[in-house]
């Protein structure tokens, strides 16, 4: 079935970018090239510990992961570039849009605006951790059923915020849904269907 023209070897954009940022060494080199070298500050005995890099462990989608991180690396960078969990989107990278929303110890946060080093020992849930096997989370299923996205870039963030909202409030009103999702922007303007999906997911989850 394969068209012969397509058999030529191709490199996808994502694979190319990943090849650049592969592993701690690559990321470290990149940050040093791009940024200035900080003054080295040493801490003495009994003083606060100071790190210019640190090996940390955390739980991501139920799995323990460990890696070496530099303080300037965000949780979002680690999720996407190290753990290859590219469902979490880097959109504004300034904590102003919600595309990078993940749950940290059950609460929605902007992963672009949290240092990876601060996530040490925390429990992170990303969009990739919602489905069990082939069965989608009810919120994911509702987003499909209600056609709740257009370009889809904001969708993982909206779904994570929706999951957090429904954890706290099993039967939210429309106003509560809007307030709960007020930290996520959708440029395509599909809010009404997003709100409908959350209401439908709430119904589905109550029915079990």
């Amino acid at each position: 079935m394969e068209n012969s023209r397509k058999k030529k070897k191709t490199v996808t954009r994502r694979a190319f970018l990943q090849s650049l940022s592969g592993g701690a060494v690559g990321a470290g080199v990149a940050s040093r090239v791009l940024g200035k070298e900080p003054r080295s500050i040493q801490s003495g005995p009994g003083e606060m510990e100071v790190f210019s890099s640190k090996r940390i462990a955390l739980t991501v989608n139920g799995k323990k992961v460990g890696f070496e991180t530099e303080p300037g690396e965000t949780l979002l960078q680690v999720l996407r570039d190290r753990l290859r969990l590219t469902g979490t989107k880097r959109t504004c990278n300034r904590g102003e849009c919600g595309g990078c929303t993940v749950l940290l110890d059950g609460k929605p946060v902007y992963s672009c605006h949290i240092l990876a080093i601060q996530a040490e020992g925390k429990d992170i849930l990303t969009i990739e951790g919602l489905a069990s096997g082939d069965k989608l989370h009810p919120v994911q299923q509702a987003f499909i059923d209600k056609d709740s996205y257009q370009c889809g870039f904001c969708t993982p963030g909206f779904i994570m915020s929706s999951v957090a909202l429904l954890d706290k409030n099993k039967q939210p009103s429309l106003d509560e849904i809007k307030a709960g999702l007020s930290g996520n922007l959708c440029r395509c303007g599909n809010y009404q269907k997003i709100h409908a999906a959350v209401a439908a997911a709430a119904d589905a989850m109550r029915r079990g």
């Binding site: 023209r5 056609d147 257009q150 849904i177 007020s182 440029r187 809010y191 009404q192 269907k193 997003i194």
Partner: protein
């Protein structure tokens, strides 16, 4: 209230290939792309509907310039370009399938219908043969080339639409709250209701956002935009969204193209800020002549009104 007209015509010469394999699978290739407007869905719907299949039976291959030529996504032209090309290919495939079936059913091709994944005799629905059966044993995949036709040359054509907005204006703060928008459009045949509604919702919310919030602020001294970020360049949030009711005339105009469909990307964006602005005028009795209609501008407009009784 405000209205729109817009071409939404599509691009003649758009190409699409439809393949039928000997295992009965159907594939459409088209060098278009889906930027979130539902192109993938529309292709599957058009091919499936023409061949008596379900949309999920169609394997849609897009997003590659190696595929048959299709235009950019822009100008409300994707569906009325790609849809007719796919329809053309699928109609040719349907004729071919009917030809194969006519031998097996021993009846002229014109007497055969494609429905429920079968080729059915019009006059006697009990006489039917599955599409899968008809193509079994084909020596190679059959390819059908589809092309989007020229525009009609003897008359003009447009999309038409009207939006109706209900707003609340806080006359002490100048803040506008849009409560409800009803939007009616004639874009010919609606290919898919869900994706069409999404285009309307998006056009209204982007128009609301531009009408009330979005402001590119340039600094005369530094020559730079002072608000180039999503904090200072404000776009609508979930808490700004009104109730929106999309309505489609859904009137097929067969003179336009073989689907009778027009584009819907821009049409709902066109009247949406204006409908809100006119509702604001209706509410406060004075026009705010510039968007975004910020609180500062609304308060200034109210002062103008007070000044000349």
């Amino acid at each position: 209230m405000a209205s729109q007209i817009w071409p939404g015509a599509g691009v003649p010469g758009t190409l699409a290939d439809l393949r039928i394999y000997s295992d009965g699978s159907v594939e459409v290739e088209c060098g278009t792309q889906d930027i979130g407007t539902g192109t993938r869905t529309h292709i599957a719907v058009v091919a499936a509907d023409t061949l008596g299949l379900e949309p999920q039976d169609i394997s849609v291959k897009i997003g590659n310039s190696d595929y048959p030529w299709a235009p950019i996504s822009g100008g409300s032209l994707t569906t009325p370009s790609v849809g007719p090309a796919v329809r053309d290919a699928a109609l040719k495939a349907a004729e071919y399938l009917k030809g194969l079936a006519s031998k097996k059913l021993n009846t002229p091709p014109a007497d055969i219908l494609l429905e429920n994944k079968k080729l059915v005799l019009k006059t006697d629905p009990s006489k039917a043969i599955e599409i899968r059966e008809v193509v079994r044993g084909l020596p190679r995949p059959m390819v059908f080339h589809g092309e989007r036709s020229e525009h009609p040359s003897t008359f003009a054509f447009q999309t038409f639409g009207a939006h109706f907005a209900e707003v609340e204006v806080d006359t002490e703060t100048g803040k506008i709250k849009v409560k409800k928008v009803v939007a009616a459009h004639d874009v010919g045949r609606v290919i898919n209701r869900q994706t069409a509604e999404s285009q309307v919702l998006g056009g209204i919310i982007q128009g609301l956002s531009a009408g009330l919030f979005e402001e590119k602020l340039m600094d005369p001294e530094t020559g730079t935009m002072v608000n180039p970020n999503l904090h200072d360049y404000k776009i609508a949030t979930a808490l700004d969204i009104p109730e929106i009711i999309p309505i489609f005339a859904d009137v097929v105009d067969d003179r336009l193209n073989n689907l009778g469909t027009k584009g819907l990307g821009e049409p709902p964006r066109i009247p949406s800020s204006a409908a809100i602005a006119n509702a604001v005028y209706n509410a406060i009795g004075v026009h705010v002549r510039e968007i975004p209609m910020t609180p500062a501008k609304v308060l200034a407009a109210l002062k103008r009104k007070e000044a000349k009784p």
